[in-house]
């Protein structure tokens, strides 16, 4: 979080009280704080569920006189299931990227070992899958706007776009972080001593992923 480059240059294991790197402790504290952030957003969404005075609604048809014309339920669960799968796969790629950095010094013999051991490939894959997820979100947002739901339309629109938008912003930050790591990797190669900077990025990435599982379940799946 604080200082990847410094850690890149010095990998001395000066003891800390817990034996953990400072950044690892800090990222856990940060994740704890983020839990409260998303808990507030998700609770607001749930509190406002069903309170909108006008459509479109997430799971229900809105018909006159509540809406000017009949509006179909707006959430597209099949499409979002695909994007959820993409995000889940990105976590897998993240795991492989971290393993690759941790084992960067080990000799690789077979092609599969070389593929599995390529941190550049898996960092790239993680960022790519993250970007794909963002693409899905952009598609979803635009189609909602075309169907008449914006952040200003009703309580559902405000709380939905703010919640998923906050999550999307977190994914975006994560993609930037991954791209930065990838750039470092390309420039001079990430070595096992750098594992911690990939590790904290991975913790953040998995967290963002888990939050999406919660959002997908509570917003999309539960009526």
């Amino acid at each position: 979080m604080a200082n990847p480059a410094a850690a890149i240059e010095h990998h001395g294991h000066t003891p800390t009280t817990t034996g953990l790197d400072h950044r690892k402790v800090a990222i856990w504290a940060f994740i704890g704080s983020e839990c409260m952030l998303f808990a507030s957003l998700i609770s607001t969404y749930l509190i406002y569920k069903g309170r909108s005075v006008t459509g479109p609604f997430p799971h229900e048809v809105c018909s006159p006189p509540v809406c000017d014309h009949v509006m179909k339920p707006i959430l597209n669960i099949p499409v979002t299931s695909v994007s959820t799968f993409v995000l889940l796969m990105s976590s897998l790629a993240m795991v492989l990227a971290l393993a690759a950095v941790e084992n960067a010094d080990k000799p690789k013999h077979s092609l599969s070992e070389k593929i599995l051991g390529s941190s550049k490939l898996w960092l790239f894959m993680t960022a790519l899958l993250g970007t794909t997820f963002l693409g899905f979100q952009a598609f979803e947002f635009t189609s909602f706007v075309h169907e008449g739901l914006t952040i200003r339309t009703n309580l559902f629109g405000s709380s939905f776009f703010t919640l998923t938008g906050f999550h999307g912003a977190h994914v975006t930050a994560g993609v930037l972080w991954l791209v930065t790591l990838l750039a470092i990797d390309i420039r001079r190669g990430l070595k096992p001593k750098d594992a911690v900077i990939v590790d904290i990025a991975a913790l953040y990435w998995h967290f963002v992923d888990v939050v999406w599982i919660a959002i997908f379940t509570l917003v999309y799946l539960i009526h």
Binding site: N3, P4, A6, L20, H22, L37, Y48, V53, L155, T162
Partner: protein, 617 residues
């Protein structure tokens, strides 16, 4: 000697310059950042005090005409906002910064540059929110900013914009600092400094950081909703859209009640340092003090709705929140008795620091008792939003937090500056504060019970409020005089105070083993601790400084020091500019809005990258 910290091994290629404005602007030294916090927060404390004095002038007589209704509403909003976010919280942060690394035997915090960033964000946030005065558009929605009064429909001016954005900026500062201190305390303790050997102040600081990281995101989200409503037309608090204004209240108080403990626990910690020293006796019931602090913090998250007994939550919710609130009285009472019994059997030295600490016990007790009165919802319906509540929380915040902080300032001033504050001026300060504070706030219990509502810029004659308000105002003027003594003492002692020596109070904890002021590396040799009171027990490997001994530089000792850097300041500055851009939206000045928002964002990202990619040392 290797540091215990995870600081990577590095070479002291450069040494921080220790003088000049530039050295302060670029410092990453936790002690200097602590001093910056202290001085800045005291200035904001004076500003908040001036606001309070004008309020008291206005209320001194019925139908006061000193200020207009509009100005009065700005004043009480800014008084509360300033005292909470710009005075008491950063004063606590000053002590976290200065003391926590010293008390755990570390050379700095875990992330020194993040620490500098926290300070600059705090400073810019404080300046941002106070800049509203220049436009005569200071926040006027109360420090609690209840929607829908704070929405565009009911408050279309810039006032609330300044407040929303200012609190967001300050939240970034508090959160960044909290991650830093959690990491520091978990990870940078000297050998042998087990958790249950940590000084009580560090313990309370530790607990407060958890409150901060768990409570601030909630207010951040409540403010995001308000901000989006005001700037982007969302409907979170839009009545016509079916919004529920209680959403704001719940989110605000889920933050707001832990915030109360964020304000008081550091003071409890300071008092727990001061009393053992001046009693010559260890803290009574150390483990119970730790657990009660944790319990207060834990329960603090389960009582928020006691601020909302009048909103009509129904009998079940009222009962639950009433009873959980009563429960908090138990750990708090335990602390009071443990402090008294710390002194019991001791040789109590009545220094100014000790007097302020004792005053905390005496006055916080009063605030605690009236707090128990609010915990009974039917009785609270006659107290809430009346002056009785104003009396209560000033006994807690002034009688508690500020008394503890004053105790801490008198106690640690010699460690920070190397010189003692004057006890004579300090006694004037103490007695005038003690008398003025009781004269100001005790009558407010009566004006509240006599039916005086809060936040009114005027009251009519013949209502039974006049005498109490007159006394309160005289008390406030005495407090103003007391504060002048303090300011004079604080400024004067910097150069003319008696030289303190490394341990002027014969205190037991680690920070008193090193010179005053401490060298930039803190500990030439990282101590090894084997008791809670190393300088009394003479156990463990703690090298105590001997007066007159030469103090070597970090370079001579081969201790690597972090480079000074201005990058955190730039990051903070650009972030503030980014928020400033939003203000122009309501002036329909889109070129300026975009310039500030995107320019600020770009500058922030650029300085952040530059900061993160440059080596620490």
């Amino acid at each position: 000697m290797a540091t215990t910290a995870a600081a990577p091994p590095y070479v002291a290629t450069r040494e921080a310059s220790n003088t000049g404005l530039w050295s302060w602007i670029t410092t990453v030294d936790h002690k200097r950042i602590g001093a910056l916090y202290l001085v800045t927060a005291l200035i904001f404390f004076l500003i908040g005090g001036i606001e309070a004095e004008i309020i008291r002038l206005q209320l001194m007589q019925p139908n006061g005409t000193v200020v207009s209704a509009y100005t009065y509403n700005e004043l009480f909003t800014m008084h509360g906002t300033t005292m909470i976010f710009l005075a008491v919280m950063p004063l606590s942060a000053a002590f976290f910064n200065f003391l926590v690394p010293l008390q755990i035997g570390a050379r700095d915090v875990a992330f020194p540059r993040l620490n500098a960033f926290s300070y600059w964000v705090f400073l810019f946030g404080g300046l941002f929110i106070n800049a509203s005065w220049l436009l005569h558009a200071a926040p006027d929605g109360g420090w609690f900013g209840y929607a829908p009064l704070t929405t565009m429909q009911f408050n279309p001016g810039l006032n609330i914009d300044f407040w929303v954005l200012g609190i967001q900026i300050l939240g970034v500062s508090s959160l960044a600092a909290a991650f830093n201190f959690i990491t520091t305390i978990i990870n940078m303790r000297a050998p042998g400094m087990q958790l249950m050997r940590m000084p009580m102040f560090t313990w309370m600081a530790f607990i407060v950081q958890f409150l901060l990281i768990l409570a601030f995101p909630v207010i951040t989200i409540a403010l995001v909703f308000l901000q989006f409503d005001r700037f982007f037309g969302t409907q979170f608090y839009e009545l016509a859209a079916g919004a529920d204004p209680l959403l704001w209240q719940h989110l605000f108080w889920i933050f707001g009640h832990p915030e109360v403990y964020i304000l008081i626990l550091p003071a409890f910690g300071l008092v727990s340092e001061v009393l053992p020293t001046f009693s010559g006796k260890p803290l009574f019931g150390y483990p119970v003090m730790v657990y009660s602090g944790m319990l207060i913090a834990f329960l603090g998250f389960g009582v928020w709705a006691h601020h909302m007994f009048a909103v009509g939550m129904g009998p079940i919710a009222d009962s639950v929140f009433g009873v959980t609130t009563l429960l908090i009285g138990i750990p708090t009472g335990v602390k009071i008795f443990n402090w008294i019994f710390t002194m019991w059997g001791g040789n109590v030295r009545f220094t100014v620091a000790a007097k302020f600490a004792i005053a905390l016990i005496a006055l916080f007790t009063i605030g605690g008792i009236s707090g128990v009165m609010h915990a009974s919802p039917p009785a609270d319906l006659q107290q809430t939003d009346s002056y009785f509540v104003v009396a209560h929380f000033h006994y807690v915040l002034f009688g508690g937090s500020m008394m503890g902080i004053f105790a801490g300032i008198y106690y640690y001033y010699p460690k920070i500056t190397g010189r003692l504050m004057s006890e004579k001026l300090g006694n004037w300060h103490f007695w005038l504060t003690f008398i003025g504070m009781n004269l100001t706030f005790f009558p407010m219990h009566f004006s509240g019970l006599a039916g005086m509502p809060r936040r009114i810029y005027r009251y009519d004659a013949g209502q039974g409020f006049t005498t109490y308000n007159e006394i309160s105002s005289w008390g406030a003027y005495i407090l103003a005089v007391a504060t002048l003594f303090f300011v004079w003492n604080f400024v004067r002692s910097r150069k003319r105070g008696a030289v303190a020596g490394h341990n002027p109070w014969n205190a037991p904890s680690l920070e008193w083993s090193i010179p005053s002021p401490p060298p930039d590396y803190n500990y030439a040799v990282i101590p090894t601790v084997s008791s809670r009171y190393p300088l009394w027990d003479h156990k463990g490997a703690v090298v105590e400084f001997h007066e007159g001994e030469p103090i070597k530089t970090a370079r001579e000792l081969g201790i690597p020091m972090p480079f000074p850097t201005i990058k955190p300041l730039f990051t903070a500055l650009f972030m503030t500019l980014m928020f400033t851009g939003l203000l122009f939206i309501h002036k329909n000045n889109w070129p300026m809005a975009y310039t500030f928002m995107f320019g600020g964002a770009a500058g922030m990202v650029a300085s952040l990258y530059s900061w993160l990619l440059s080596p620490l040392e």
